[in-house]
Every structure is written in structure tokens, then in C-alpha cells.
């Protein structure tokens, strides 16, 4: 096929992100300047976000390797928003970092491009390239504070385990190719049919292992708390938001487009994984005394909830996943943003131990309000965005009469409420913490502070008035290629 202007237009956001990455690289080669690099990064991302708007009208556009449809644009917008947040947070966080600071933005842009490729992939080759382009810069970002033991450990741990998961993914692809003889997803889905053979089933299972690792679905979740704990704040934010969104979107695309996933056996496996995720994530979060580890376990639980949408796989599944992903993204960015801001003016480990947060309200009331709103939203309390997402998931489970899963969500939410409230109580205690750690005095005026405040406002707004978000997600579903 020939590449027409329409195709080029549809791929332009991706091209602009890559061009920004190269500009940043050449900029660093020319002259190191922290503010300038951050500014170029932010301008590039904002330009790309603006460019997504006209493409909505022309979607879906398909090229041999990529499909620019509703789901891809939706995921692209979420990835870019979280990259923008990470860039703003990194600008505050890296301000007094002794080593080279500018490369972080380069890695961030590369990872964002990888996420966009992954979300738009309709071919196993682009799926693999996108996943690697998303993961490779993340290794560097996680180990960015390499003089810090924990950060280095997080980077190497994620690197080795991720390489093992990639091996599973590749083997799964090889089995699928042996069965089907094609690599593009529509052909794979068509040939596998409703009842896949043993090899096809094994291939799908191995793909599920590879993607499940990145989503920290339960048997493959062991890396999550350690990596979240050790990673520098902005890197952990990106890992918890953009990386998970991109991988979940590609998994959603696989499940929706492959009739083999309607197989009872595969659905049973997904249901067991979902239930295990909810219970393990929530129960292990109970005993954490470190906020970043706690958020890690809570993300395991949240992806357990999200898997319910994949188990059901029809009806409102796309809409539910979209709404839940969006609310999860906004909330997680807010919570990690506060942790990052509190860690920004200290060398050494991030401020994550709960005793640092004791009585934070009496020192930084607005920042505490942001964290409180985020935690309430993670717990799924009404009038926050998290409630809308949880409502959708439970409605979907009830509609499909998956009573075990609905029971799991309810038990998980009850346990979740306990540990989120425990953190909130700590925030408002009167006695001072053991060691005082604080956000910079002028945090509200800095880029990261403004973004975090905006996110908290968004969490409340989406909770009170979710109609525009739901409209948007419906539009996404409407222009998604099945």
C-alpha cells in the first residue's frame, strides 16, 4: 500500500513525539540546560496533545503495522497527559539532583513514544517493538538515581524480570506464528477462531504471561512493591500510570478482537487471576508502612478489578475499561505527585515511610488535601473519580452475573478502605513525625505543584460531574476498530 496524506496525518502525533526526543538529545549535546530541556519536552507533548484533536474526526485509520482508532487515540492522550505530569514533577524533583538531569526527559519521551506505538499496534511486531521501546527507557528512569542503592536495585530488578517476561511473550508469539503463519492481529484472530488448538492456546497463555507481568497481575506481581519503593518519584509515577495504561489497552484490544478469548477456559483463567489480584493486593497492602509500597499493592488490586472487564469481554466492557483507566490514571498521578513533591528537596531515599507523613496536615494543608482526595478516590468513595470507575466495574460484573468477582470487588474495597483510611489518619495526627520531611516552601508555585493541584481538582470534578468523561469514552468505543 502507499502512504497517503491521511495516513501521515494520523501518524503525526507519534512522529512529533519522536522528533521531540531527538531535539532534546541534540539539545543536550549542544548545551546542558535543565530548564530548557524541560521546556522543549513540555512544548513537544502539548503540541502532540493538540494534534490528537483533529485526528479524532478522521479515525479510524489503518496502516499495515498500526491502527489509529479510538482506543489508540484514547490511550495516546492518557500516556501524553501522564508524561506531561511526570515532566513537571521531574523538573521539581531533579532540581537539586547532583548528576546529569537532562537525560531523564529524553528517556521519558522515548517511553511515551513506545507506549503510543504499543496502544496502536495491530501486528505482533509493533506490539513487541512498542513494548520494548516502553520498557527500555524505563530501566534507565528507574535506576536514574544510580548512586542510591534502592534505585539501582529497582532498575536491575525490573530489567531482569522484564527480560524474562519478554522471553515468554516472544515464545508465545512464536507459537502463534507456528499455528497461524501470520503476524498481524486480525489474521491471527481469524485463524485461531472460536476454539483454538493446543498450540494456539499455549501461545495466548504465554502472551498473557508477558503482558500480565507488566500489569503486575497476581502470580507475576512480585516485583511491583520493590520497584515502586526504590524508583525515583517521577519514574515511579510513569511506571504506575502510562506504562500500565498502554499495556492494558493492548491487552484489551487482544481480548476484544480475538474470538478465542470467548473460550470458557481462558475466561476462567482470567477470572481466577482477577480474584487473586483483588485479594492478594489488598491483603498485602494492609501490612505496609511505606506509602509507595502501599500504592504498589493497591495498583495490583486495581488491576485485579480491571481484569473483570476483560473477563466479561462484551457489552459495556470497553466503556468500563476506559472509564476505570481514566479515573485510575488521574488518581494515581495525584497520589504519586504528592510523594514526589515531598521527596523533591532531599537527597537519598524518597519520602515514603508513613512516619514522615505524620501530622502533614498541620504543615502543608493543601498538599495533604490533594493526597486525601487521591486516597479517597483510590478507595472508591462517592464524589471522587474512583467511585465512578468502581461503580462501572460492579455494574458490569452484576450484569454478567459473575457473582464471585463481584464478591471479590466488595471484599477488596472493604479491606482497601481500611488501609487508605489508616494513611489518612496519619496525615491528620497532631504529634510531629519522627523525622521531619517537608515539601519545598514554594511548592504551590512550582510546575509540579500546579499540576498536582489540577489533578486533585480533576478527581473531584470527574466524581461530581462524570458525564463528559462518559461521553468521551463512548465516542472512543464508537470509533474503535473491532
Amino acid at each position: 500500500m502507499t502512504l497517503t496524506m491521511t495516513h501521515l496525518m494520523a501518524l503525526l502525533p507519534l512522529i512529533v513525539v519522536c522528533a521531540t526526543a531527538i531535539t532534546v538529545m541534540l539539545g543536550i549535546a549542544w548545551r546542558r540546560h535543565h530548564g530548557g530541556t524541560a521546556a522543549v519536552t513540555v512544548i513537544g507533548i502539548v503540541l502532540t496533545l493538540a494534534m490528537l484533536l483533529p485526528i479524532w474526526t478522521m479515525a479510524p485509520v489503518e496502516v499495515p503495522l498500526l491502527v489509529v482508532d479510538g482506543l489508540a487515540l484514547f490511550a495516546g492522550a492518557m500516556i501524553l497527559i501522564s508524561s506531561l505530569t511526570c515532566a513537571a514533577l521531574a523538573y521539581v524533583y531533579l532540581d537539586n539532583y547532583p548528576g546529569p538531569r537532562e537525560e531523564f526527559y529524553l528517556l521519558l519521551l522515548c517511553a511515551a513514544a513506545g507506549g503510543m506505538v504499543l496502544a496502536a499496534s495491530r501486528h505482533l511486531a509493533t506490539l513487541f517493538v512498542g513494548l520494548e521501546l516502553l520498557s527500555m527507557p524505563l530501566y534507565g528512569m528507574l535506576a536514574y538515581a544510580f548512586s542510591e542503592r534502592r534505585s539501582l536495585e529497582a532498575g536491575i530488578k525490573y530489567f531482569i524480570l522484564s527480560a524474562a517476561a519478554t522471553a515468554f511473550l516472544l515464545f508465545g508469539m512464536a507459537l502463534l506464528y507456528a499455528q497461524v503463519g501470520r503476524l498481524d492481529l486480525p489474521a491471527v484472530a481469524a485463524v485461531l477462531g472460536e476454539r483454538p488448538t493446543a498450540w494456539g492456546l499455549a501461545g495466548i497463555g504465554l502472551l498473557l504471561v508477558g503482558l500480565g507481568f507488566k500489569l503486575s497481575i497476581v502470580p507475576f506481581h512480585l516485583w511491583t512493591p520493590d520497584v515502586y519503593e526504590g524508583a525515583p518519584g517521577p519514574a515511579a509515577t510513569f511506571l504506575a500510570s502510562a506504562s500500565k495504561v498502554a499495556v492494558f489497552v493492548v491487552l484489551l484490544r487482544l481480548v476484544l478482537s480475538t474470538p478465542a478469548f470467548q473460550d470458557d477456559w481462558l475466561r476462567g483463567v482470567l477470572a481466577v487471576l482477577a480474584l487473586a489480584g483483588m485479594l492478594v493486593g489488598n491483603l498485602l497492602a494492609l501490612v505496609q508502612s511505606n506509602l509507595k509500597r502501599l500504592l504498589g499493592y493497591s495498583s495490583i488490586a486495581h488491576f485485579g478489578y480491571l481484569l473483570v472487564a476483560l473477563v466479561v469481554g462484551d457489552g459495556l466492557a470497553t466503556e468500563t475499561s476506559g472509564v476505570y483507566l481514566l479515573t485510575y490514571l488521574v488518581t494515581t498521578l495525584g497520589a504519586f505527585g504528592v510523594v514526589t513533591l515531598l521527596s523533591s528537596s532531599y537527597s537519598g531515599e524518597d519520602t515514603a515511610a508513613l512516619h514522615h507523613y505524620r501530622g502533614l496536615f498541620w504543615r502543608r494543608p493543601y498538599l495533604t488535601a490533594v493526597l486525601t482526595v487521591s486516597l479517597l478516590s483510590l478507595a472508591g468513595i462517592p464524589f471522587t473519580a474512583g467511585f465512578i470507575g468502581k461503580f462501572y466495574i460492579i455494574a458490569l460484573g452484576v450484569e454478567a452475573e459473575r457473582w464471585w468477582l463481584v464478591g471479590g470487588i466488595i471484599v477488596g474495597s472493604a479491606i482497601g478502605l481500611y488501609y487508605y483510611l489508616r494513611v489518612m489518619v496519619t496525615l491528620y495526627l497532631v504529634e510531629p513525625g519522627m523525622r521531619r520531611r517537608d515539601a519545598p516552601r514554594d511548592w504551590g508555585g512550582r510546575a509540579g505543584g500546579v499540576v498536582v493541584l489540577g489533578l486533585a481538582l480533576l478527581v473531584v470534578m470527574l466524581g461530581v460531574y462524570p458525564a463528559p468523561m462518559i461521553e468521551w469514552v463512548r465516542l472512543v468505543e464508537h470509533i474503535t476498530v473491532r
Partner: protein, 135 residues
């Protein structure tokens, strides 16, 4: 179900036999060797065997980390040069669009090379300090 299982066995039995044969062969060679082979102990027996010559020095030598960086850069640029061979064999068929694609690819490589040389990744000796964070 039993019918599909039978069909599955009929289709895939050769693979099963292969896996079984591999396992049997491994167990057989290791088992027979341990049963029939003689054993001898001695001080020199626990030394590493290096063509009959007594080993000298420690195996834990320290290399400058620079070598790894140079090796990695070599592999990266080498692999990317390999991609150009794919273009070279199809240069007439892909025409101008292929030319511009390859040109973009080479320019990105060039940008990477400029970056590498500017941050000091290509310097062999640790003499010159790489330009650190300015201001």
C-alpha cells in the same frame, strides 16, 4: 472431549516422543556415567583444568567500565548498520520513499552519534572529564 483428545494425541504424539527421548537420553548418559565411571580424589583434582597447565592469577580481573560502554555502542551501531543492508538489496524497488525513510533513519543515527561524542561516551581514556551538568 475424548474425541478431540484422541485427535490431539494423533496429531502431536511425535513431539511427546521427542521430549521423552530427550529426557531419557539425559538421564541415561548421566546415570550410566555415574554408575560405571571410576572415581578418584586428590588435591589437584579440585583445581580448574586448563589444558593441563596450572592456572595463574585470579579469575576476578577488573576492567574499566569504559570497555563495556564502547562494546555496547559498537553493537548498537553495528546492528543498525545491518538494517541498511536490507535497504541496499531493495534500493530500486522501494524508490524515493524508501530513500527518504533510510535518510531519516541515518539522520537519527547521526544525531545519536553526535550526542555520544558530546557527552564523552566515545572517549577511551578517562583523561578528559565528560562535560558535566553546566551551572
Amino acid at each position: 472431549m475424548s474425541q478431540t483428545a484422541t485427535a490431539l494425541i494423533a496429531e502431536q504424539w511425535a513431539v511427546g516422543v521427542f521430549v521423552l527421548a530427550v529426557l531419557t537420553l539425559c538421564v541415561f548418559t548421566a546415570g550410566v556415567a555415574s554408575l560405571l565411571g571410576g572415581r578418584s580424589w586428590g588435591r589437584a583434582k579440585s583445581l580448574p583444568f586448563e589444558s593441563g597447565v596450572v592456572g595463574a592469577g585470579s579469575a576476578r580481573q577488573r576492567f574499566s567500565v569504559k570497555f563495556y560502554l564502547v562494546a555496547m555502542l559498537f553493537v548498537i551501531f553495528d546492528i543498525e548498520a545491518v538494517f541498511l543492508f536490507g535497504w541496499a538489496v531493495a534500493v530500486r524497488e522501494v524508490g524515493w520513499s524508501g530513500f527518504w525513510g533510510a535518510a531519516v533513519f541515518i539522520l537519527i543515527l547521526l544525531a545519536g552519534l553526535i550526542y555520544d561524542s558530546r557527552v564523552g561516551a566515545l572517549d577511551w581514556a578517562p583523561r578528559r572529564r565528560p562535560p558535566g551538568p553546566a551551572t
